[in-house]
């Protein structure tokens, strides 16, 4: 029947004559969520909670053990009309209450079903445990007495004064951390290294113990104002990804009347962790390197990272999520958000009828849509980030964790939902009429996505690091020994034809020149004499004259070389030129450079992984982004690639030691020899470059590879991650 809520149910006869009533173990509290009245039934003995709407509660409340179920239902219908539960709903309510021991009916219990249910519960627990081995909980002790004793003291932290103190502490911590950002980031490289792991774990345990106790104390503190008293009776160890960490059960806070109390209890852990992180940051700054400093660093890392990324972030289902869900008065926010998105598809895309909206009001719907989408995106994002982070930081020995994590993420978020979706598409009863359309639309959606990532070619930019260099550049060496007499100051533009950069004098050469000329003259005279007297001597003298002339030539050149001229046009750069005045410079000494500062190029380095692609498929035009000047987006042309594979970097700035991306050899003191061979790529600029860019400036060069589908791009990048990891 195409009815949203059919009034009658075929199995009604089985409950109609039953006389049932609520068990004495039930405590009822009335709560308002987003303007809707709900009744929360609490099973005092098992600490479980159920929520009934008004109609359902009316029906249940009418069951007093004297009326039959049928009578109660009739009464309900008379009073509430449409709001009254249908027979089917009534059966469901009764079944749920009974299954949880909240309903008392005078019938002999069905032992078979009881045992079956027990078995089911056990097997579900086992299943649940296996499925969530990642979140296994082992209760160990009852912390209530300890909490009872200390709450009056510790609880004061949850007062306005405590809040002020907390704010001050956290501000100081934040201030400190921002000041030391660079070092903080640099130290994070070591966080997942083997020697640090025990410290890290210690930090996790300390942070979590304080976190959990903070919850517990908050619960006890605010519980004093509530009739339930905020009992905290269960504490133990939770295996979070196989790593044991402590936990405390503070679910009794859920029935607090004041929702801000519930919120503070929920956020207490996060607040405490932020306080820890701040304290640790301040301590860390003031300590000299050592174990204790490392402990502080780890503590800070754990407490802040876990807060910002997980517990304090409502997009993941941790503390803040529950608080947000409570404050928004939308219970099960996450599940309902997903259900609502599904509902939208089913209702508007597939036009399934009858269908009941998941949202109770328009504003709730907005929240559900917003939350559903943003939490999904964030979850995927954070998951990929964590995997990449761990991939770059985890020691080789623990690398196996990454594929395990990736596989479990893939299974949990892709394969299982996909399987469920396919099953739903093929077998769901509600799709009976629209199955064809639902399948067609889903398939076309999938096809569209596949085409988008598998066929549509998009440009594929690869960023590599580069450094700006002058196009022409010549080092100026002294060509002859001499005393510096005159020189050009650094920074002037020079041309090879005009001007002398450095003029030196060498008196020794001058006198040598004089001597040689005198000697020459003597020899020429002797030769004239010999021509007439002794012809045989002429030949010898000729040779001597020639030798002297050669000497003169050399001295002349040396003298000319005392005047250094710029080898290429450009700017004369010699920062220390002032120090050479009057100095005696020996031949071959470097005194400066001439470089073309208005004619710059970029020299970039690429690892072997990228170089092959650059050679084969790069577009000649590239984009250049100078670091520190986000406003400039420059263009360039690929000029030349040296594929031979060099190990020396164009600049130490590109090596890892100086903050670049390329790993350098540890034994090289200058940090300029790359650990692996790198390729150098020369890029010529297009158009005029802004004046601020000088040689030595670091840039990111985006090289556009041949456009290819996203899937091919992801595949190459994934391969490269592997290759890097395994040095293939």
């Amino acid at each position: 029947m195409p009815l949203e809520r059919p009034t009658f149910h075929e199995a009604w006869y089985r409950v109609a004559d039953l006389k049932a009533r609520l068990s004495t173990m039930v405590r009822v509290s009335r709560q308002t969520y987003r303007g809707q009245v709900w009744y929360v039934l609490e099973n005092v003995s098992s600490n479980e909670y159920f929520r009934l709407n008004r109609g359902a509660y009316w029906f249940v409340a009418l069951l007093d053990g004297r009326r039959t179920v049928a009578q109660a239902w009739e009464l309900c219908n008379q009073r509430l009309a449409d709001e009254a539960p249908t027979q089917g709903e009534a059966i469901q309510i009764l079944g749920m209450l009974y299954a949880n021991g909240l309903l008392y009916a005078e019938v002999p219990p069905d032992t078979q079903v009881l045992f079956k249910r027990y078995k089911q519960r056990i097997s579900r627990q086992v299943q649940g445990t296996l499925m969530s081995l990642l979140y296994l909980k082992v209760p160990l002790l009852d912390p209530d007495p300890i909490l009872e004793r200390w709450t009056p003291i510790v609880g004061r932290l949850f007062t306005p004064l405590g809040l002020v103190a907390w704010l001050i502490l956290v501000s100081i911590g934040l201030w400190t951390a921002v000041g030391e950002m660079a070092e903080l980031v640099a130290s994070s490289r070591e966080v997942l290294s083997f020697p640090n792991l025990p410290l890290l774990y210690l930090a996790v345990v300390v942070a979590k113990v304080i976190h959990e106790f903070s919850h517990a104390f908050a619960c006890k503190w605010f519980g004093r104002a509530n009739p339930s008293g905020g009992q905290v009776h269960s504490m133990g160890v939770m295996f979070l990804v196989f790593v044991p960490v402590p936990y405390v059960d503070t679910s009794s806070a859920w029935v607090f009347r004041n929702r801000w109390h519930r919120a503070v209890v929920g956020m207490a852990g996060v607040l405490a962790e932020l306080a820890i992180a701040s304290t640790a940051a301040v301590t860390w700054v003031h300590l000299s390197p050592g174990v204790f400093k490392a402990v502080c660093y780890n503590l800070m890392f754990v407490a802040s990272a876990s807060t910002i990324l997980f517990n304090g972030n409502p997009l993941l289902r941790f503390d803040a999520y529950y608080v947000l869900s409570d404050l928004l008065e939308i219970p099960n926010l996450g599940q309902r958000a997903n259900a609502y998105l599904g509902y939208l598809v089913r209702r508007y895309l597939w036009a399934i009828r009858p269908i009941e909206s998941v949202a109770y009001s328009a504003s709730e719907a907005v929240w559900l849509i917003f939350y559903g989408i943003s939490s999904f995106v964030y979850r995927v994002y954070i998951f990929i980030r964590i995997i990449l982070f761990m991939n770059s930081r985890l020691p080789q020995g623990l690398w196996f964790i990454i594929p395990v994590m990736a596989a479990s993420g893939l299974a949990g978020w892709v394969l299982v939902p996909a399987g469920r979706f396919i099953k739903y598409l093929l077998t769901s009863g509600e799709l009976a009429k629209r199955r064809a359309w639902a399948i067609v639309s889903s398939l076309s959606m999938i096809c569209a996505i596949l085409v988008l990532i598998g066929l549509v070619r998009v440009s594929d930019p690869w960023p590599i690091d580069g450094i700006i260099e002058p196009n022409r550049q010549a080092v100026v060496y002294t060509l002859a020994d001499g005393f510096v007499q005159e020189y050009l100051p650094s920074g002037l533009d020079v041309q090879p034809t005009e001007g002398v950069i450095v003029r030196a004098v060498n008196p020794q050469l001058e006198s040598q020149k004089g001597q040689l000329y005198a000697q020459l003259r003597r020899l020429q005279v002797q030769r004239q004499i010999a021509q007439t007297e002794e012809v045989a001597l002429v030949q010898i003298l000729d040779e001597q004259i020639q030798a002297v002339e050669e000497q003169i030539q050399r001295v002349e050149t040396d003298l000319a070389n005392l005047e250094l001229r710029p080898p290429v046009p450009g700017t004369w750069i010699s920062p220390d030129i002032d120090k050479i005045r009057g100095l005696y410079l020996q031949r071959g000494q470097q005194i400066g450079q001439v470089a073309s500062l208005d004619d710059l190029v970029v020299r970039a380095t690429a690892g072997q992984d990228v170089a092959a692609m650059i050679v084969q498929q790069a577009d000649r035009t590239v984009q250049i982004r100078p670091r520190g000047y986000p406003q400039y987006l420059l263009e360039g042309n690929l000029a030349q690639i040296w594929p031979a594979g060099l190990t020396s970097l164009p600049s130490a700035a590109m090596g890892m030691r100086a903050g670049g991306k390329i790993p350098v050899r540890p034994d090289d003191p200058n940090g300029i020899v790359a650990a692996e061979r790198v390729f150098q790529v020369l890029i010529e600029p297009v158009g005029q470059w802004p004046q601020v860019l000088r040689p030595g400036h670091r840039v990111v060069v985006r090289i556009y590879m041949r456009p290819k589908p996203l899937i091919a791009r992801w595949w190459t990048r994934a391969l490269q991650v592997f290759q890097k990891r395994f040095q293939i």
């Binding site: 199995a11 089985r14 409950v15 469901q92 077998t427 009976a432 009429k433």
Partner: protein, 655 residues
Amino acid sequence: MRDPRPAWASGAKGQIPQGLDGLWARGLGVIAALRLTRNRLLRHTKCVLALEQRYNSMTDARLRQEIEDLRVAFRLGRDTYEDWYKAFAILREVAWRQIGQLPYPVQVMGGWAIASGAVAEMATGEGKTLTATMPATIAGWRGRGCHIVTVNDYLARRDAEWMEPIYRFCGLQVGYIEQGMGPADRRAAYAADITYCTNKEVCADFLRDRLLLASKGGQPSWLEALLGGKGSDGRLVQRGLYQAIVDEADSVLIDEAVTPLIISSDTGDSQQVEAFRQAADLVCSLSKGLHYQVDMEQQDVELTDEGIWRLQELTAGWGGIWRIGRCRNELAVKALLAKEIYGRDKQYIVDQDKVVIVDDFTGRLMPDRQWRDGLHQAVEAKERLEVTAPKETLARISFQRFFRLYRSLAGMTGTAREAVGEFWLIYGLPVAVIPPNRPCIRQYWPDVVLTTEQAKWAWIVREIAKLNKIGRPVLVGTRTIRSSEFLSNLLAKEGIRCQVLNAIRHKEEAQIVSAAGQLGQVTIATNMAGRGTDIKLGRGVPDLGGLHVIAAERNESGRIDRQLFGRCARQGDPGSCQAIISLEDELFVRYASRLSSFVKLRYGPTDRNIASPLTSTLVALAQSTAQRRAYRLRKAVIRMDHWLDEQLSFAAEYL
């Protein structure tokens, strides 16, 4: 000797395995079927036949002595293969001596399969009644009773009386249950070693017993007995469900499986009765398309928002149930269903100012059944009949569930192999295909497919006239009473006399059907009329080519088509069959509307036969869609039952 059925398929609470469990269960099914391959059964049969010499010379007294020994072995549950061989051999001999029929080897094979807890697929006319005596006797010897479930009262009685000599010789008592029997007779019949009954009677008796037990506080009967309660024991008619052999297993266990059997009482709620009448008037002022939409494929009616609004407007100021929006819409939808979907002489007929349901599957009248949830009342209101008060359910169980309660179950039918998976997954029954005694020489004439209904009937009349001229008997199977009457009118115009079968009295039906093989006879029957009765060919008929069967429509399952075709060419007789269908048949309209309208467009209006591979595909598609939908529905019913059990575990274990 007998393997117990798998856990999931026995008892009311077993869950149908799903996912990986389902695969595993199917695997087990394949293994279970391996025990019942033709070769294995043949091997056992050879061992049985080898003992023939030994027993055919024995005196009756000596034979009785042998039987007594065997009975002890079976009673104690210490039977071996050796005992089974002896039992089957003795039973053949007894059958020969008592009723003059010596079971064929294929009947022994079938009997063996049934005794091993399987569904034996034996072609119609292979002597299933006799076959069943062998496993039934063995079950009788075990001493816990055996129900042989037949499709109608007439057959129950006929078979019981027919086979009684065999059972009596074997030291067993036989009883049968008939409609209208008193509790004392029923009790006596159930107390017999072997009870012939119909599925409806046995199930209804079970429910009545359960109600009786429920009134005693819902204790299981054994607990009651332990507590010394004699009160209910004296009034219960059944003594427990131990073994059942289900004849026509596919129709009982599959086609009718989800039909619930309901025991109800009148509520006498006059306010509601009035509301139904008002609703019937009310919906006349709603217009199709604007206020509601009709989905013939799903047999559904849907109110539009406009319609809901209009209803509210129309009923403004009305009191009682009309004030509740949900109930108001519900009443209107019921009235619309009655108006748009449920047609007179199609889904129901009006007989003596009463609405009588016509079974969709069998075309049979169901005078004691009512539609649920007010639909029946809505139809009555539409027909301006006296609206009966809605009945209040006291107890209900689906046949599916009921038969799963048997400790051991077996079946026989003419058509089972299409439903192997379902037999196994739901009932834990493997299927054994038993070859016919004599090879079948049935001729399948190619289908005739026509575009319009009109052309179809014309074609059928021509075909019948042609065959009638030469004197060949013809049996036409139709799906609905209306079409069978329509056809008989057409034939009357042509001057052809015919017998129409759609009555309720099984005995006469059986007689007419058995006469359908006479020279020059034309019989029109709804699908399953007279099942279980042999159509013997009259003198001279085999020379003309035997009985010819015409299916005037394809059925929702190929299985049922096969049943109809199986009525000719039995036991090696000659015979032929043909389906003459049109694109306007309900099968296509409901299950392949798009493709069929495409085909119609392709051929245009024509009176030609348009049979082609395309139309065969169309039939296959429609039938598989129908099958899938029906199977899904049956699974949903089981799942629903389980859900209810979970939900209602506190309420009534006793149903």
